[in-house]
Amino acid sequence: MHPFINSTNKVLVLLAGWLLLTFSISGLISSITDANIFDCLILFLPPYFLCLVFILPNYYVCRGLPLGQTPWMTLLASHTLTLIVIVGMWVLAGEAYAAMLDSIAPPLQWSLLFDTSLYTNLALVVLQFEIVMLVHYLFFATEKTRNLEQAALKQKLLISQAELQALKATVHPHFLFNSLNTLANIALSDPQQAHRFCLLIAEFLRYSVAYSKKSSATLGDELEHIQNYLGIERERFGERLKTSFEVDENLRDTVVPPLILFPVVENAIKHGIDSCIEGGTLSVIAREHEGTLVVEVSNPVDELGRKLRGTGHGLSSVQGRLKSHYGERAILKTNRLEGQFVVKLYLPILSEAES
């Protein structure tokens, strides 16, 4: 359906506008030819209604030939051709109508009146065609803007969904489930150790809950959170999990999005260390490289040993969050080489005041 006549209101507005225009045209022609204005109305009202009917479908031609994407020769040729066809049909219909009036309502010479004002009318029909064409293209332009705005809104929604997913993953029921099972086993043999383990989980949860509401954390906070997490996992993995941290101390105050490292490390445990029978070393390196903070998380991976099918969801949510925080200024890169999986985060170095 044509967008200008897809509701009753629009049809009424269009008809009112058209009526006003046709009255003006009749007035104009009456003043040029000295004919009675009512006669002019009788002669021109129906043909100009027909003109409207001919011109409106040009919408589909305009839609098929979007500005900026169609070669201008094609544009010019198509619209000229459409115009010629419309004008031709309009003149034929007008002549036929005037001839009919001649036979049913003499003595006024309707055909003569139509012919003497033909050039004025042709100019007006062409003008109407041009105006309607411009309105159509204007309509497409605003529609495009609206679509872009909608796409931007959708992007925002996706980002907040990514934030939510990251948060959910942090206090994943499965993680709590595993931790409780481990705690139950530790409690049987070593109450002191069970006590320490509980404190570790409490500290881990405290950070997750507190920082899920904040918009920034420091790299130092994030690293401590990861240490807590690895402390919990070490109880499950025993000798299989070894860790190594190499951190440039000057970077600890750098501001980063909260809980941005956790999904990366969790991924390294779930799909990396846990896939290797002998386990391995999870290493975290934070350093500065050409004014950028680089955090590198690497772990061994045994493709044949993976317990879980990877969805890649953890890393893609990190990527989404980086994009929402830094746009193009942050990158996440992954690399798989000789049994090692490496994730590198490149972040701009920002202090508390700048962020």
Partner: protein, 94 residues
């Protein structure tokens, strides 16, 4: 004494988490009719241990790297002793 030990049921524990193995060992040691003959950390060790020690009862974890509990059963085939699955995997846990 020797007579009673001969009647004991021999048990093998297979779990990749050290605390889970230890916890199970502590729990099972309270049953006098059970004798724990070995602890295994993964599926590979489990298959080897079953062949060597011929336990009558297997406490078997499902989620383990490389060979999981089901792979172990498949490899053991006819030699499979009685099996009790031990798992923290909520999909299989009853």
């Amino acid at each position: 004494m020797t007579d009673t030990s001969a009647e004991k049921i021999t048990v093998l524990i297979v779990d990749d988490e050290p605390h889970a193995r230890q916890g199970l060992q502590t729990a099972l040691s309270k049953f006098e009719q059970l004798e724990i003959v070995g602890l295994c950390e993964n599926g590979l060790q489990a298959v080897k241990a079953v062949n060597e020690l011929k336990p009558q009862l297997l406490f078997l974890d499902i989620q383990m790297p490389k060979l999981d509990g089901f792979d172990v059963l498949e490899l053991l085939g006819e030699q499979t002793p009685f099996v009790i699955f031990v798992t923290a995997f909520d999909e299989y846990a009853v």
